[in-house]
Symmetry: D2
Subunit: 325 residues, 4 copies
């Protein structure tokens, strides 16, 4: 259902959560597509970030009105929309966990970790948009595993910290301002966070130990990774591997030697920053990697638009906040 | 120089930094001692947290006026005060790094990690008060190393996050509110933080990989530790080891199974909270430990008063914020 | 129902909101009373801030178990507890709005603005604890109105800013961390905030224009008041009036000429700070007053304990955080 | 010195403070001009927000290299740059206070309150960019004074709150994160803030009482104004006056009846939001106005670019963040 002017139309199911709002803000700046609808139950009738477009309480049958639909729904709620889209021949970028690697339903979907699967995106009907934590971890580790530099006899220790928008916009006492300000909390202890399914599926044979923490900031993720490597592997080699792998991506920045990622540099952008450091005084060779990204940007809505760009034949970085300062 | 009423007198050198202010607040509540002076160069003449006591710009010669002196000075500035105190027979709690294990000047000092060295405190002339990060790490690991549960062939991966008061009160652009709010930054990458000297001295033969981060909160530290253990060691064993070791300490709380430390519970207290978790799906057995404390409390001023209490014959927890909610 | 040791017992209805928690923290430090129960529906079974006391889901009939009950309930929910207490001859400090001046039910209650009504507290059966905003406004203005310095032909313009704990602990989307951080919002525009009933009842004949704002901080209130005064009235006169009126109160601090209240100095205390300033270049004589207090301290739980202290014959400031730095 | 491609060139003196950085970020998005230099003493050699442009330590003589220069210097430091620009025939937007109304040096400058002086901008050689606080106050009040609705016998009570970037980026202890977080402070008490010179010059015959406060946020200003009006004037009339006056401005948004401005909606934008409310229960008719803007956007760099746009013949809102959500 392209518009009169020939631009493809898109719809957003679940537009009033943090991810949906961010997606609509990016799409509002994207002059290659037109947003035809944005659904929201509780906020129906309220203005969306797209000028002139109010949220509406619409069901999956309306997916037929657009060329491509984004699903920013609660995990588990994507299925009726995906079914309706399949019936109508409409393409989908699914931001829920429902079709991600490790979900058990990944078979019919292309995994939308853009830099790793871009060849499959132009023809994809259903794209499973990655989780926020896996985005940094997998982009950092997948090329290194392929290059054979990781010592898989030891665990890869990943400690992550995320802003609260990662926990959604539904009211919860533990997410009230007065509960979060001045606090910092590990959670999902015991190595059982659900994002591990996705990480393990994409990084088979690695022992991943993942501990997330809740930061008193609105948005952004920093992942600090202690990476066991084979003898002789150093930071320079890792940096070179990343640079070669991500040379053409507008959304991945590999920091120079000595540069240190910080959350404030990536918040509000669609980039992921990768950095690597040699460590003194360890017998077992171990590098420290840092990945920083905005959980709403490259970790969700930004990557969804990056995927849409390749699905629809646009430049990967169109309308995205990449390469800026 | 006890007071007329028989209470010992104390002085604080460097009272207008964050640690000095916190120390004075605790001492103001301590009815077993009297604060005779608090020095501060730039703030001389301003009121201190002790009612009726203004900051003064005094030199080391004044140490002879008191029974015990606390040094909250820049690192490297303790030496003339320690010398003057030694000459005058005055006892010292040195909160600088100048006499800590690994400093090269630890010989004449008792290390004031209270729970580990309490037997030596009643007779100590010079106590080296521990660093904030080492307090959590060493209290968590020392009993476990003694118990032989750690696998020292693999690194102990310690990722820590601290509030900004840990960086001091001198004006710096990178610590301005607008630079820190919404940010989260790793620093001292490469395993070279100076607190590693102290940790390594107290935990010999362990491979420690330590990465601190700056949190957008005023105070508090959370340290999340991936601990390689020998086969068969589990969280319950670690918890039991801690509970036995710290049974009599008012300032160490070992969390129950399932409890998760959070910074907000320890900020403003003089406690350290320790917790331990088993991890799923790892071949190389690895537990996750969490230590949480206030960098100004148990991590500095609180522990300094705890040490003073034992030096002067008071109960360890007197005037401290321990065992409250 | 005094305890075996002769200490009166108290109970707290609604102990797991921010006011209830703060009240229990203060009572836990008060060695003149014993907390017999703390109710909470959703948190029944969880530990309260009083060591050894779990929250329980109890009804008004249990009020008979104590000598004095605090009601930290939603507005409108105090009535059955007050009735049960009256029947059982139990004294009550009601922290809801249900019996405050202007509520229509103030007849049988003593208004607990401690400094203004202290003579009536020793014999009071039911004390209506003031609202947080009215506490600063009424303590600042009542002595000035009595002294005849206010020009009541012009409005008194009160602009207030409060931390989010003033809005309660029930989950609300607009109070989530990610909604509040970085924000500042006026609310209750149009001069219709319900606290105006209480202010107007205590400050008759003044034209009060009150605009509150929500601050991105957990706790504390600053009220900045443009006060129209009669010709010749200056800041020194106002300051002298306050000092005379509040000479004996441990919880009211009148700042010196040139001192400026700030929220950080009162947060976590049970004090209110009052300051006054002359203004340049105005034909219509107008002073600026500033009142600062903790909405949970002097603005709620602190004042409730201050009232209890006078009801039970203790010193007014017992267990309160007043006169400290 | 237009570029080869015909685009005018601009330079920024003082580019590494908060205003300079924001200005460079906006200019980096402006495809109608090219940034030729950005000066900064302490940060010379560091990357600026304009890709490929490093900060340089340059003096006023370099102003001749560009068509238009922005001065983001400390107050008082603009004069040598303005002189050099005049000699070289280069146009200037001066963001310091040096040529603003009330400064005593406003004679040769056009005041850059864009909506009020736009007719003079196309030919202006020197534009005095307004202060952040005056921008909201003057845009709100000037049309109302012109319409004769204000009762000038009573003071206009303006209470403002600003994020800390308004205080600059030079290190100061009172602006450290740990000093500002959790705090809220009035300042410049006594009606002596220097921005009053500018407000009074543009709003003659009004009695302005202005009290600013420091907010624990990075950016944004909310100004809440109690406006004495003549009998019969209501919010609807004020709203209509604003709407007529600002009908063509992309940067001024007049809120609908019932809408309430909040800082989070304007932070990061170049808009100012204006709202007005009737008040209950006051004998002396008084409306409440609220103006909200980003101190770095419409309050500084955004308005500077808006002025440049009109000086150079672009649309007023080009490259600005206006009309978005």
């Amino acid at each position: 259902m392209s518009t009169n002017d020939g631009r493809p139309t898109v719809g957003v199911a679940g537009g009033s959560g943090y991810t949906g709002l961010e997606l609509l803000r990016i799409l509002a700046r994207h002059d290659g597509v037109r947003v035809a609808f944005a659904t929201a139950r509780g906020d129906a009738g309220c203005e969306s970030p797209v000028v002139g477009l109010a949220f509406a309480d619409l069901g999956p049958d309306r997916v037929a009105d657009v060329d491509l639909a984004f699903l920013c729904l609660p995990h588990g709620a994507a299925l009726p929309w995906v079914q309706a889209a399949r019936d109508a021949g409409v393409r989908v970028v699914d931001l829920t966990a429902d079709h991600r690697p490790g979900s058990g339903r990944e078979a019919g979907a292309v995994y939308g970790m853009t830099e790793l699967t871009e060849a499959h995106l132009p023809d994809a009907g259903l794209v499973a948009n990655p989780g926020c934590y896996p985005t940094g971890v997998i982009l950092a580790l997948a090329p290194l595993q392929a290059a054979g530099v990781i010592d898989d006899a030891r665990p890869v220790v990943i400690q992550a910290a995320s802003g609260v928008t990662g926990a959604g916009r539904s009211p919860r006492r533990d997410l009230l301002f007065a509960e979060v300000v001045g606090d910092f909390r590990p959670y999902a202890l015991g190595n059982g966070h659900r994002h591990l399914l996705e990480m393990r599926a994409m990084l088979p044979d690695l022992q991943l130990l993942f501990t997330p923490h809740l930061l008193p900031v609105a948005r952004g993720i920093v992942e600090t990774i202690a990476l066991p490597v084979r003898g002789g592997v150093d930071a320079a080699e890792v940096r070179a591997t990343w640079r070669e792998r991500y040379a053409s991506s507008p959304c991945v920045r590999v920091d120079d030697d000595g540069e240190v990622p910080r959350l404030a540099r990536v918040a509000g952008t669609d980039e992921v920053h990768l950095a690597v450091f040699d460590n003194e005084a360890l017998e077992a060779p171990t590098l420290t990697l840092v990945a920083a990204l905005d959980n709403l940007g490259k970790g969700a809505a930004g990557q969804a638009v990056q995927n849409m760009n390749l699905m629809l034949g646009f430049d990967a970085g169109r309308a995205l906040r990449c390469g800026q300062r």
